[in-house]
């Protein structure tokens, strides 16, 4: 029951908030903060009580919810990150439709919690699609701008392409095992296992903006900053990584290898894309894809605990950085890195943001650095290629983190004081996330992660000093590169090859021109065919029947009618003939009769001889005939 409330409270309260639409920001922020706080408390209560959920839909379909040790940690994350992000958004985002945005963010949190507690594939699919739809509505929040709505459509349609994988996995799992439970994944073998692995990998990759689905996340940056900070860095995309670490251990090596391949590719490609981007939010979005790629590598290598650790550390630092990108945008009205420079305007923020920046760069002793080094160790355990990808990805991460920080927080010109939000709004949410980022540094104390790993029942990869040294060296080199770019080539990615590469290596162009446009063109052609050919078939049928009717009518006019006339003529001829023959016949018959009667009379007269022996002879002959006739009859 408590577990159900963790989902229901933010969902229903979100819709209620949209319906109530409070006018005052303060009320809205307070309500959202209260609901998220309550959700957080419920989540903790659900974990402590070990609550489960079972809703019987019928037809053998049940919605089941259960927490594993890993998902318990994941349950805390959405309301925890949402709390500062949503409250800040309620206080600072532009006016129109603000209650709708805040309400939808709460609904999203509910959907996300459903994904986390899901213990069967139907429940997972329900949550999975609900957060996708929430993403559509939130990216398209500024609905008067057709580009924003189009970006929302991209977000939904591309991630739904991945959802088809989840559908496929559900169908194949039920067909093979008769169950929808996640535990049933462990019983799969052969073809069903292949289908389910591929389906789940595709859906996770699409949600986590892994290659080749990544571009939707860029377009999702058209949404308001709180949406980017919560959905498109900390939670919704993280659902992809969560699926890999939740289902991966049951699916075996094939799935793991696939996840590592996808993750390693994206870790490097996303890093390059992020570094080459001039748009502050897109830089962070590319980075998000890359870091989720790192989580895919860890989970694929068989260390779901490490993937989860990075998921948590990443959520804290990345949502903080998104908030600062939003602040910079509020102050300067642009996301172009070479025009932000808000360091002098907000000195406190400059210092506080250093923490999440260094965390993103992977510099010890911050928690994100620990989890990233553990991912390197996990990759080292499984594949050399993946290890190289993690190290290179780490260097790139350091590079774009430094480019972002230096560009955004260099002193810069004065800012119109009217644009600077109140200190509390500016500082409190960022301070909260900075403190969390700093607190996660305890992971470097070996006893802490070891204890947690024992509790969760997960393994940690063995460390390797050589790998650690290589990794740190790569980070240092990357950091230097990032600072150099920020100082010397501040406009990198504006109008050059870098810009072209920075737009996800041309993938959006490819998706647009190789998938979206052809699909729409095909639809148009099919619609024409439907109007012209398929319907023409019917028209042809109708025309054919009309033609047949005409032909029949002609036949009716000519043949049948002529037949009638023929008959008439025939009867006329018959009548004429009958006339002549009849005259003759009717005349002749009586004459013949009269003649015959006359002749017979003459014959009879001749028998009247008067001689009695003649009479006797005739009598005897008559009798003989009579006897003969009678005896024949007998």
């Amino acid at each position: 029951m408590i577990l159900a409330l963790v989902v229901l409270l933010p969902t229903l309260a979100g819709f209620a908030l949209i319906a109530a639409a409070p006018d005052r920001r303060g009320e809205l922020a307070l309500a959202a903060g209260f609901i998220l706080g309550a959700t957080l408390a419920l989540a903790v209560a659900a974990i402590l009580t070990g609550d489960t959920l079972l809703i019987v839909w019928g037809s053998g379909i049940e919605l089941a919810g259960r927490l594993t040790p890993l998902s318990a940690i994941m349950l805390i994350l959405p309301p925890l990150v949402a709390l500062p992000v949503v409250v800040r958004g309620a206080l600072t985002e532009e006016g129109p439709g603000l209650p709708r945005m805040v309400g939808l963010l709460l609904v999203f949190v509910g959907g996300m919690e459903l994904v986390v507690i899901a213990d069967d594939l139907v429940t997972l699919l329900v949550g999975w699609e609900v957060i996708g739809a929430a993403s559509w509505a939130l990216v398209a929040h500024r609905w008067r701008d057709p580009d924003a709505v189009t970006s929302g459509i991209w977000a939904f349609v591309v991630t739904r392409t991945g959802d088809l994988g989840l559908f496929l996995a559900l169908m194949a799992t039920v067909a093979a095992t008769g169950s929808t439970r996640l535990n049933a994944l462990g019983e799969l073998t052969g073809m069903p296992l292949l289908l389910v692995s591929a389906g789940l990998l595709v859906s996770a990759a699409a949600k986590a903006a892994q290659a080749p689905f990544s571009p939707w996340l860029f377009r999702a940056m058209d949404g308001p900053t709180p949406v980017s900070a919560l959905l498109h860095s900390a939670t919704l995309v993280a659902a992809g990584a969560y699926l890999v670490l939740r289902a991966g251990p049951m699916l075996g090596d094939g799935f793991g290898a696939g996840a590592m391949a996808v993750g390693a590719t994206t870790a490097v490609a996303g890093g390059i894309v992020a570094l080459l981007n001039l748009h502050a939010k897109r830089l962070l979005a590319g980075s998000t894809s890359a870091h989720l790629g790192l989580m895919f590598v860890a989970a694929g290598a068989g260390y779901p605990g490490v993937a989860l650790a990075h998921l948590v550390t990443h959520a804290a630092m990345k949502s903080a950085l998104f908030i600062e990108a939003g602040t910079a945008h509020e102050l300067r009205g642009t996301y172009a890195l070479d025009r932000l420079a808000i360091g002098r305007a907000v000195p406190v923020l400059t210092w506080m943001t250093l923490l999440p920046t260094l965390a993103l760069a992977g510099i010890p002793p911050l928690g994100a650095a620990w989890s990233k080094e553990k991912i390197a160790g996990a990759a080292h355990d499984a594949s050399t290629l993946a290890t190289i990808a993690v190290v290179v990805g780490g260097a790139l991460s350091a590079a774009y983190a430094m480019r972002f920080y230096v560009a955004v927080f260099s002193p810069g010109p004065d800012v119109d004081p009217g644009r600077i939000p109140s200190r509390a709004v500016l500082i409190l949410p960022s301070a909260f996330l900075a403190v969390v980022t700093l607190a996660l540094s305890v992971l470097w104390i070996p006893a802490v992660p070891n204890t947690i790993a024992d509790r969760l029942g997960v393994a940690l990869p063995p460390g390797s000093l050589g790998l650690f040294a290589a990794s740190i060296a790569a980070i240092a080199a990357g950091a230097v590169l990032g600072i150099v770019i920020a100082r010397r080539r501040a406009d990198l990615g504006r109008n050059d090859t870098a810009a072209a590469l920075g737009d996800w290596l041309g993938l959006p162009w490819l998706l647009e021109n190789a998938v979206a446009r052809p699909a729409v063109a095909l639809a148009r052609v099919l619609a024409r065919i439907d109007d012209v050919l398929v319907d023409r078939g019917v028209h042809l049928g109708a025309a054919l029947s009309r033609t047949i009717a005409h032909v029949l009518a002609r036949i009716d006019d000519t043949v049948v009618d002529r037949g009638v006339r023929l008959v008439a003529a025939l009867s006329r001829w018959l009548a004429n003939a009958g006339d002549r023959f009849g005259e003759w016949a009717t005349d002749s018959l009586p004459r013949l009769t009269a003649y015959l009667v006359g002749a017979a009379g003459g014959g009879v007269r001749r028998t009247q001889t008067g001689l009695s022996h003649h009479y006797f002879a005739i009598l005897v002959a008559g009798l003989a005939v009579a006897v003969a006739v009678l005896s024949y009859g007998a």
Binding site: S59, W143, V538
Partner: protein, 501 residues
């Protein structure tokens, strides 16, 4: 009781026709009240329906032509009860919905009540001949609603609709006659026909009868490639008539497919289940793609019906395939198909009502003549967004419950057909979202600045239907249990026929 549910709207129609002095508002009030009676009666019937009971319950029977085995027989199983309840809801909603062109109101509402009587009669009757009569009466009712209260090329559209589906109904009539002639003593009683399976082992005759049924019902459903009567009929029909056409009349095709070929000719059906599934797949994909290619709101929604009925028929085909050991999956597919019929009735009915509202305010369906309506008509926008997401199968709304069952069930029987059919889900997402963008979001043309939001009555109707869509989507157990009561025996019955026997 069920007889009364058919009789009341019929009498109501007669009263409206024969009362010339009736004012428009009175006619409407009378029609709504009359339409509510069968809904109440059906709800009562539902409360009396026993889930564990016999297949057909609440049977009423009255001899009519004993020599031919024709009788007035009504009764319900889970499938027909669910469909007639949905029909009852939709008729109340569409009759309450404001007319687009206020003329000859009395006759308009009379035809609606007539159509309700015919539709309920079709779902409730247990006699094949009576079924056929109601099947044709429904054509008559819709013919006049489109032809007299439609717009644009309404006469041509009405005629095309009538002739096309009438050809289908003739095929059905022939099939019915051949089927019934094989019974001894001759009877049109559906229960006897289901029990006797009169054409089992009848070879080519059975195939021809099966084809007759499938052809007729495929036209009505409609399936690709015999669907082209649908778009013109929808485009030119008034919104409420469109809602009934999509919501109720199309279901007659899929319901007939379940009742006749699937239940009365199990063996023949099993032999042709795969080709039927392929036709369903073609409808799913064709309907989705062609809908995406449309520029008119109403044509786009109309083609999604082809797509959705494709899902339903895919479920029916999977249910009828004789695959040993997959009884559960086949039942799941059939339940999904029936839930799809109910969900599609409510969802697409709503979408057509909304399209009717847009026409009533703007006199056009062309999407590029709209934009940014969210600013002037937030309620209309919200309702359309919910209905569109329901139609594209978002979880938490009714369509998902249906589709997930159909796909799970169908995959166990025809894995590749079901897997390819998934693409339909993606295309419908794209086509609805782009429609929402073009009509409700983005820049608003100046001519739409005075576009009025939905009124009180429209709002109440939308709220009621969409609430039902949400309830089915979130907690469908009550509906699934009802439908399962029927699909269980339909599928288990299939299993008891030995393959090839």
């Amino acid at each position: 009781m069920l007889t009364l549910a058919i009789l009341v709207p019929f009498v109501g129609a007669l009263v409206l026709v024969t009362a010339p002095g009736l004012r428009a508002t009175t006619s409407r009030a009378l029609a709504v009240a009359t339409a509510a009676v069968p809904l109440a009666l059906l709800c009562f019937a539902w409360s009396r329906f026993s889930l564990g009971g016999t297949d057909f319950q609440l049977v009423e029977e009255m001899a009519w032509v004993p020599a031919l085995g024709v009788a007035w027989r009504v009764g319900v199983d889970g499938v027909s009860l669910a469909l007639s309840l949905m029909t009852g809801v939709l008729f109340v909603a569409t009759i309450a919905w404001p007319m687009e062109q206020r003329e000859r109101e009395r006759q308009y509402y009379a035809w609606f009540l007539f159509l309700e009587a015919a539709s309920l009669g079709l779902f409730l009757t247990l006699d094949l001949l009576v079924f056929y009569v109601f099947f044709d009466l429904s054509l008559v009712g819709m013919f006049f609603l489109i032809g007299r209260w439609g717009h644009g090329e309404r006469q041509a559209a009405a005629l095309k609709f009538f002739i096309y589906t009438f050809v289908g109904s003739l095929a059905i009539l022939l099939a019915i006659i051949v089927l019934v002639l094989r019974t001894d003593p001759m009877t049109f009683d559906m229960r006897v026909l289901i029990a006797q399976q009169p054409l089992a082992g009848a070879g080519p005759v059975a195939t021809l009868v099966f084809l007759g049924f499938v052809m007729g019902f495929a036209i009505k459903a409609p399936l690709f490639p015999v669907h082209t009567w649908l778009p013109p009929a929808h485009v030119n029909a008034p919104g409420p008539a469109s809602a009934i056409l999509a919501g109720v009349l199309l279901k007659m095709g899929t319901y007939g497919m379940v009742r006749m070929p699937l239940q009365m000719m199990r063996e023949t059906f099993a032999a042709y289940a795969l080709p039927l599934a392929v036709v369903a797949l073609a409808s799913i994909l064709w309907g989705a793609f062609v809908a995406l290619g449309q520029t008119s709101i109403k044509r786009r929604i109309a083609y999604t019906s082809v797509n959705h009925m494709g899902y339903a028929v895919l479920g029916i085909a999977a249910a009828g395939a004789l695959v040993a050991g997959e009884e559960h999956a086949r039942q799941l597919a059939l339940t999904g198909a029936v839930v799809e019929m109910v969900a599609h009735g409510l969802i697409t009915g709503t979408l057509f009502l909304l399209a009717g509202s847009i026409w009533a305010r703007a006199d056009t369906y062309e999407m590029d003549r709209f934009g940014g309506l969210a600013g002037v008509a937030p309620k209309l926008t919200a309702a359309t967004v919910v209905a569109a997401f329901a139609s594209l199968g978002l979880p938490g709304l009714a369509g998902f419950v249906a589709e997930v069952q159909i796909f799970i069930g169908a995959f166990a029987v025809f894995p590749w057909v079901a897997a390819v059919g998934l693409v339909g889900i993606l295309i419908t997402a794209a086509l609805f979202l782009t429609m929402l963008l073009q009509v409700f979001f983005g820049e608003r043309p100046v001519e739409r600045n005075a576009f009025a939001d939905v009124g009180r009555v429209e709002g109440a109707v939308l709220l009621a239907i969409l609430a039902l869509v949400v309830v089915i989507g979130v907690y469908p157990a009550w509906l699934l249990d009802l439908v399962n009561a029927a699909t269980d025996s339909a599928v288990v019955g299939t299993a008891t026929v030995a393959p090839g026997g």
